[in-house]
C-alpha cells in the first residue's frame, strides 16, 4: 500500500505537464464552449463555472503556497543531500524559480459534469447472427487522431454493430496507447469499501493523485471518488491535508456548491487566515447570488471581518462555533497588537 501510494504520486508529478496538456486541451474546447453557449442563452442567471478567471483566482489564492509541502520529497532512492553555496541574489533567484515551478504543480485538474453513456447502434445485420460466439472490438489505431474522436466499435454475436461504451473505450485506448500511471482494469482501491481504509490512513492526496492518473475527468468513477474524498475530509475536518495541493480548489468548489462551507470557514479562522475566509465568502456569493448575505454584502460593500459576520448570521448552520472562533481570533490580534 505504501509502495503503491509513493509510485502513484511520483508518476503523477512526473507526467503532470503531459496530463495537463491533454486535459487542458479538450477542457478548453468543451468547458469554455459550454460556458459561452450558456451565457448567450440566458443573460440573467449566468452561473460562474469552474473555469472562470475570477473563480480560478480566488481558488488559487486559497490554496496557499507552502513550498515545503509542494516539494515534499517523493520516495526515491536514497542519496546524500547536496549542499550549494550561494549569494543572497542567487538564493532569491532560486526561490523565485521554485515558486514558478510550484505554481505549475498547483494547476487544478478540471471539474466537469458526468459524461453521458454512449448508446449508438451503427448497423443491425441479422444474417451475421450465430456465425461467431464472442464480441469483436475494433479500434482505430491511426496515430494522429485525438483519443476522444477515435472509432471504437463492437460487433456483438447477434449481429448488432454499436459504438463502444466509455469503459470499453478507456480500456482499449489504454491497451494500444498506454499512459503512464494507468492500468487497463482500474485498481480495486477505488471501490467504496476500500476507500474507507485509505481515508483512515490519511492518504487522501495520494488516492486523489492516483484517481487523476487512472480516470478521465468526466468519468463517473472519477467524480464518485472525488466526492467521496471531499465528503470524508469535510466530515473529519481534515482540510489541512489538501491545503497546498492542487486538489484544494476542487474541494472548495464542491463544498461551496453544496453549501457545506462552515467547517472550512472555522478551520481558516483558527489558522488566522482571514484573507482565505473572505475569499471563500466572496466565492460563495458569486455562486449563490440570490442568498440574503450576498444582497447585504452588495448593498453595504462590506470587507473583511464584517463580511464574515454577516455571512455567519444569515447562512451558516454552525453559528456558535464560528462566533467563538472569530472572538478568539480578535482577542489574539488585540493581544498581539497590545504587546
Amino acid at each position: 500500500m505504501a509502495a503503491l501510494g509513493a509510485w502513484g504520486s511520483a508518476a503523477a508529478s512526473a507526467r503532470l505537464s503531459r496530463a495537463a496538456q491533454t486535459l487542458w486541451g479538450w477542457r478548453a474546447r468543451r468547458g469554455l464552449g459550454q460556458d459561452a453557449g450558456a451565457a448567450d442563452a440566458e443573460r440573467k442567471a449566468v452561473k460562474p463555472s469552474f473555469g472562470d478567471e475570477a473563480v480560478q483566482n480566488l481558488l488559487h489564492k486559497m490554496t496557499g503556497l507552502n513550498l515545503q509541502k509542494v516539494f515534499r520529497p517523493v520516495k526515491k532512492e536514497l542519496k546524500p543531500p547536496k549542499y550549494k553555496l550561494m549569494t543572497e541574489a542567487q538564493l532569491e533567484e532560486a526561490t523565485r524559480k521554485a515558486i514558478e515551478e510550484a505554481k505549475e504543480k498547483l494547476i487544478m485538474p478540471p471539474v466537469l459534469k458526468e459524461r453521458e453513456p454512449i448508446d449508438d447502434v451503427l448497423a443491425e445485420d441479422k444474417f451475421l447472427e450465430g456465425t461467431e460466439t464472442t464480441k469483436y472490438v475494433f479500434t482505430d489505431l491511426t496515430y494522429s487522431i485525438p483519443h476522444r474522436e477515435r472509432f471504437i466499435v463492437v460487433r456483438e454475436p447477434n449481429g448488432v454493430l454499436r459504438k463502444a461504451t466509455w469503459e470499453e473505450r478507456d480500456r482499449m485506448i489504454q491497451i494500444f496507447f498506454p499512459k503512464e500511471g494507468r492500468r487497463v482494469i482500474p485498481p480495486v482501491v477505488f471501490k467504496d469499501e476500500h476507500l474507507g481504509t485509505v481515508f483512515q490512513q490519511d492518504r487522501h492526496e495520494d488516492i486523489l493523485n492516483m484517481c487523476i492518473a487512472q480516470f478521465e475527468p468526466d468519468s463517473p468513477d472519477y467524480i464518485r471518488v472525488h466526492h467521496r474524498t471531499y465528503d470524508d475530509i469535510e466530515k473529519h475536518a481534515k482540510y489541512d491535508l489538501l491545503r497546498s495541493t492542487r486538489h484544494f480548489g476542487g474541494m472548495v468548489w464542491y463544498l461551496v456548491n453544496r453549501k457545506k462551507t462552515d467547517g472550512l470557514l472555522i478551520d481558516t479562522i483558527h489558522r488566522d487566515l482571514l484573507d482565505d475566509a473572505t475569499s471563500l465568502i466572496t466565492l460563495y456569493h458569486m455562486l449563490h447570488p440570490e442568498c440574503q448575505s450576498a444582497k447585504e454584502a452588495k448593498e453595504g460593500k462590506l470587507q473583511g471581518v464584517d463580511l464574515i459576520k454577516v455571512f455567519v448570521k444569515t447562512e451558516s448552520q454552525k453559528e456558535g462555533y464560528i462566533q467563538l472562533a472569530l472572538q478568539a481570533y480578535e482577542e489574539a490580534r488585540a493581544a498581539s497588537t497590545a504587546s
Binding site: 448497423a123 451475421l128 469483436y136 489505431l141 491511426t142 454493430l161 470499453e168 480500456r171 482499449m172
Partner: protein, 94 residues
C-alpha cells in the same frame, strides 16, 4: 516499389497483399495484420504492420482487434489485395 525491399530478395512478379502473420506461443495464437509481398514467408519481412487481432477472448469476453485505418486506405489505394480471413475481419466493422 516491387523491388523496394532491395536488401537480399528480389522476385519475379508477386503483388502486395494484406494478410495475417501468425505470432505468439504454443496454444496461444496472435495475428498481426500486415501488408507484405505475396511471395514472402507468412511471418517474414513485411512492408508495414497495419494492426493486430487477438483471436482468443479476453476477461470481458471480447476479441480485441486494432486497425490502422489511415494506412489501410493508403495500401488499398496502392492496389493491395486481401486474403480471405483479412476480408472477413475487415468486413465485420463495416
Amino acid at each position: 516499389l516491387f523491388a523496394g525491399s532491395r536488401l537480399l530478395k528480389g522476385y519475379r512478379g508477386g503483388h502486395v497483399v494484406i494478410r495475417f502473420a501468425l505470432g505468439g506461443c504454443t496454444n496461444r495464437p496472435f495475428f498481426r495484420i500486415v501488408a507484405a509481398h505475396s511471395r514472402r514467408a507468412r511471418d517474414g519481412k513485411y512492408l508495414e504492420q497495419l494492426g493486430c487481432l487477438d483471436p482468443l477472448p479476453n476477461a470481458h469476453g471480447e476479441r480485441v482487434a486494432g486497425l490502422n485505418l489511415e494506412r489501410l486506405r493508403y495500401w488499398l489505394g496502392c492496389g493491395a489485395q486481401l486474403s480471405r480471413p483479412a476480408e472477413k475481419l475487415l468486413g465485420r466493422p463495416g
